[in-house]
Amino acid sequence: MSSEQGRIIKISGPLVIADGMRDAKMFDLVRVSKMNLIGEIIEMHGDQASIQVYEDTAGLKPGEIVKTTDEPLSVELGPGLIGGIFDGIQRPLDELVKIEGNNISRGATVQPLNRSKTWHFFPSVEVGAKVSTGDVIGFVDETEILKHKIMCPHDVSGEIINIKEGDYTVEEIVAVIKDDQGDKHELSLMQKWPVRIGRPFKEKYAPSQPLITGQRSIDTFFPVAKGGTAAVPGPFGSGKTVIQHQLAKWAAADVVVYIGCGERGNEMTDVLNEFPELEDPNSGLPLMQRTILIANTSDMPVAAREASIYTGITIAEYFRDMGYSVSIMADSTSRWAEALREMSGRLEEMPGEEGYPAYLGSRLAQFYERAGTVKCLGSDDSDDRTGVLTAIGAVSPPGGDLSDPVAQSTLRIVQVFWSLDSALAYQRHFPAINWLSSYSLYEEKIDEWMNENVSENWSQLRKDAMILLQEEAELQEIVRLVGHDSLSFSDRLKLEMARSIREDYLHQNSFDEIDTYSSLEKQFYMLDCLMNFYYEVQTALDKNADYQKLISLPIRDDLARMKYIEEENIKETYDKYKKRISQEIADIIPREA
């Protein structure tokens, strides 16, 4: 227990300055005043420490005590995380409701992980086994779909001298390790880790596999790789949050960490209501069994918003270290940056662009760099010790203007950019991902994977469809100048087919039970049908078939509704439609005289 006690000398919003803090360290967690408000030291001058307080500071007075806990801000890692909803400093919000009622009051201390709940621990190593940091010593079935692996904590290695199956709480000793010096280390189900330090790993790999999301415009045109980074910037109302929710729901990941950072309270409630009822497409079990929510809504204290991003990614890294594929969604990094700006302003730092601190870019980079595909620590080198952490951040640029410093700093780091477009959103074309300005730098690698695993035609189809969309934009310019009638039939066909790709393929209704998720097979079948129709009509036009008749063939209505066909019927429908396409077009081609 630390004996140092400082005293408050200045209070300005979430910033408190205390003196008598000579023995405290940078980034130590402190307790402020008798109310026990939680804060973190972010600057030191002589014996004065600047503290960002994670709770409302109203009512604080100079002279009140400040105690350091001698520990940096850390998270508790162990069984009980999954399905939980935590605030920015990992206080469980559902427990807080029970203790404090409907509003979040101050100074509440609730342990992040439930101390009384017991978990059944199955050892996977025996007494006498040699283990080192990162090695799995056993597991707990945390939910029906997730085995929570218990790992040997950092800086501990040696021989297991005691380990036993049984029911334990997170604090009870499940194993004892004797190291080379003969010191004994007692292991429990839980470990702690400081949030501002990335958890170590052996080696990082370049990402090469797609993270399948079931969202057609993402998977087909702008895929994100497992272990990659992506950003979704867009003005308000363009559907950022819906995309983030869709990814949290459908992305093929073992664990999803969703950070609601400075966003709406009702959105978090929505997730809390909806996820337990939604089924994971792979296991058929509720999605909540693989989800962790971090909610620091916009009305909650601003300093804790700054911490929420780190809390989230540290938890994500912990599951990555078990060898899982983890996705983290942060909505929105702009609010996080604003929290940085607010603290920076209070510290009277020299501002950079738009009042943001000069270190904005490097902080953002540090966050996204914690993503990746890695070889986990430990003596076991097998394949299931490869962990994946994919990071997807939303950016809310003011007025949708991408020259905003947060958007610009983000774009310099991330590999995938889904540009949301308000014009598309007004047409209720969702997801409103603009196909002309978005990009994915993983495209080529993922094309290879798709050609091998989905269909060898994949990359060709995808490229042809993209070219159509690009040509559409140019042709529309011409139409605007000289009118529709001056176009050749082949150009008119391009316009018509591009419209069909937009409306029948890219447009995806996230509120429709079937359309909300498309498997890669379904995506391929749909795209293949649409593009085949295009290719064949092109040939038919060359053979003097009537343009009007071709584009009003009955098959087109069915192609437009293909997205509403269930996964199990899609193959059959595909075969049928492909035949119908050839047949209906053949009927129109005039017989040669």
């Binding site: 009512g59 807080l96 400075g262 309270g265 409630t269 916009s298 009305d299 607010e342 302003g345 003011p398």
Partner: protein, 465 residues
């Protein structure tokens, strides 16, 4: 008796520095006693050692550094609340100004409020019928939602807001309903319009009004929305009422905030507004909502005038990022006498999906809504093309959509401020309009609804000329 200090060191704009104080807390409320005995209110913004920086809610005229005294009250901004507040008019800090008796408080509440725990919230999913097609049909208002009106100077946002306050009802309406109205920096005429309107319809007896007019002290406005929402919280969560809160005008509120920030020489964010404008607005807006274990609800409609009709201005921009959608008024529609001039395409209600459909409004609601949006949007594009190239150059389909968009504006959006359309009427009207389009163009509506509601006779009749 609280200690009185005669140690005012500096008064500058809305700020005042007091030295050598003891035991004063951050955010504490204070009173300044002028030499003539007049009392003005202030609040602590920063404590540094023995010095405090306070913000004056009222004017600094007459404050003398030598003779004026300051005392601190030992608590933050609080509001005495009671059911008797219904039907009364208060100033921007919550003192009665309508010649009625003082409020005998049932309890005293901290007007800053506490953030609602997201795990305690109930998701808003009850449809509110406002009787306005552009809202009910396309941008549905939901109980517990925060839905701002983005307007411009000279546009009829007041008429729209009062129409909503007048007509809003839930379909099985047996519950207690109240209106809390907070005026911040608006003119006497605007405020009077609301008061008269509420009085005419008899709604005044279930309303609470907080009025800070354009000529009232600007800094007082910073407290007004908080005081209003504290009252709303009391009515909703203590007295189980469904409360509609109208805040007008957020633009003036943000300007008052900027005034204080500039006086403190803080590093400004965009357009001189403080970097914490988002957080500050969020702390107001997020107080709307429903709770799992309470009956009442707070539905919030802030009104803001966009400077130069610019949606990317920081105030509408940040508001849009916090609120659950927006209703945008459009000058072009207004000039064409379309009342209310709601620009439905950029308007949005984020919560509508849970509140519409079978059992709430009607099963075909979502589909028709999407189709109307898509068709109107295409029609607008076609109209643009028509302006450049003339009607002749349009393709057949574009011509149809262009006609559709005219009809849609004339019949669906336009309805004037005293017409109250039921949701049935709105949905039927939607089908009347969709039936102008050929059946196979309705690609966002499922077959069953097309069969059930599409009117072939309208299609043939409309295009017979």
């Amino acid at each position: 008796m609280a200690k009185e200090y005669r140690t005012i060191e500096e008064v500058s704009g809305p700020l005042m520095l007091v030295q050598d104080v003891e035991d004063v807390a951050y955010d504490e409320l204070g009173e300044i006693v002028l030499s003539n005995g007049e009392i003005r209110r202030c609040q602590v913004l920063e404590v540094s050692g023995n010095n405090v920086l306070v913000q004056l809610f009222e004017s600094s005229i007459g404050i003398n550094i030598e003779q004026s005294k300051v005392r601190f009250l030992g608590h933050g901004m609080e509001l005495p609340v009671s059911p008797d507040m219904l039907g009364r008019v208060f100033d921007g800090l919550g003192s009665p100004i309508d010649d009625g008796p003082e409020i005998i408080p049932e309890k005293t509440m901290d007007s800053n409020g506490l953030p609602m725990n997201p795990a305690a919230r109930a998701y808003p999913d009850e449809f509110i019928q406002t009787g306005i097609s552009a809202i009910d049909g396309l941008n549905t208002l939901v109980r517990g939602q925060k839905l701002p009106i983005f307007s411009g100077s000279g546009l009829p946002h007041n008429q729209l807001a009062s129409q909503i306050a007048r007509q809003a009802k839930v379909l099985d309406d047996s519950e207690k309903f109240a209106v809390v109205f907070a005026a911040m920096g608006i003119t006497f005429e605007d405020a009077n319009f609301f008061i008269e309107d509420l009085r005419k319809t008899g709604a005044i007896s279930r309303s609470v009004m907080f009025v800070n007019l354009a000529n009232d002290p600007a800094i007082e406005r910073i407290a007004t929305p908080r005081v209003a929402l504290t009252t709303a919280e009391y009515l909703a969560f203590d007295l189980d009422m469904h409360v509609l809160v109208i805040l007008t005008d957020i633009t003036y509120y943000a300007e008052a905030l900027r005034e204080v920030s500039a006086a403190r020489k803080e590093v400004p964010g965009r357009r001189g507004y403080p970097g914490y404008l988002y957080t500050d607005l969020a702390q107001i807006y997020e107080r709307a909502g429903r709770l799992k274990d309470r009956t009442g609800s707070i539905t919030l409609m802030p009104i803001l005038t966009m400077p130069d009709d610019d949606k990317t201005h920081p105030i509408p921009d940040l508001t849009g990022y916090i609120t659950e959608g927006q209703i945008i008024l459009n000058r072009d529609l207004y000039n064409r006498a379309i009342q209310p001039p709601i620009d439905v395409l950029p308007s949005l209600s984020r919560l509508k999906d849970e509140a519409i459909g079978d059992g709430k409004t009607r099963a075909d609601h979502a589909d028709t809504m999407n189709q109307l949006f898509a068709a109107y949007s295409r029609g607008k594009d076609a109209k643009e093309l028509e302006i450049i190239l003339g009607e002749e150059a349009l393709s057949e389909a574009d011509r149809i959509y262009s006609r559709f968009s005219d009809e849609f504006e004339k019949r669906y959006i336009s309805q004037t401020f005293d017409v109250d359309r039921s949701i049935e009427e709105t949905l039927e009207l939607g089908w009347d309009l969709l039936s102008i389009l050929p059946k196979n163009e309705l690609n966002r509506i499922s077959e069953t609804y097309i069969e059930k509601y599409y009117r072939d006779e309208i299609f043939s009749e409309f295009w017979s000329e």
